[in-house]
Amino acid sequence: MEAADIALALTALACLMLRSAGVWLAGGLGSDHPVIAWATAIAQATLAAFVMLAIIAPTGALADVPLAARLFGLGVGVAVCLAFGRNLLPALLVGLVAMLALRAVMKF
């Protein structure tokens, strides 16, 4: 078995255990239990931190896109989302186009 296969198997097993542990731990709790509210806040905060990092300080190919273009795409996407009934798909496409457009403009 290759190293990559072993690493994949171990990680997959651990992820399955994390998910199963969460379901088992919460199984006896009501949706209004403070632990559920706490876990929800942690999950949402993690997602917000992930977005913040991916936009402000990304790694890989996205790091080559100017910060201004990333912020512009994000701002336009969010504005469209909030302005048009929180419809995600148009907001996603408009935000992406906005990012690409500003990046193209900044290259000239």
Binding site: L16, G22, A39, I42, L47, M52, V78, L88, A91
Partner: protein
Amino acid sequence: MGSVTSSRSAALFGARDAVGAAGVAMAATFLAFGAAVREAGLPPGWALVACWAIYGMPGQLVLVQAASTGFVGGIAPAVMGAIAVNARFLPMAIAITPLFGVHERKRLIPAIPFIAVTPWAAAMRAFPEIAASVRLSWFLGFGLTSWVVAGLAALAGFYVAGMLDDHARAALLFVNPLYYALLLAADVNKPAPRRAILCGAAAAGLTFILPASMGLLAAGIIGGTAAFLWGRKRGSR
């Protein structure tokens, strides 16, 4: 959606929801992942198994990065790093479980592999509009469809890797955080998510002073706990 009471209809609604904005974001991200797998010298089967068995992009990327260097630091640090960046599965599973309205934990076993950011965030948004009795069916429809989209996109990315330049890859990689940002923005009018978003974004700075594999987890725990305590102090959720 509140009028949907049959499991079959709910599953179909879930599948339909999964091919909208979520499907676009998922496809873009996993397309880029497939290309990265090929560049790391790993086979397409590995990409597919990683998508379906891990189903958490940050952890998948940690492994690909380690594989591209031949696991010079060893397997254990790579695995620990991948687990740490995917540790959010635990609070996500805790948060979503009561919302299924299922008393027997065994009935939730089919849903466990699908507990990941995209299905979780979509479910948290959609569940208030879905009758509790069919939420599990909706989630299975959404999760299974997302899984298929992710796997096919990763395979497609593997085979078109040479055709994706840095510009195309950057565009693909931008779609994922933008989609998550939109999901969060859609909830910003609710006090509890708004507090979590603000605190999580503020805590993101911790990732600059902590080891990369632990930074996101720490930001989530500290930001989320601060948001939770803030809410308790205000006497509302």
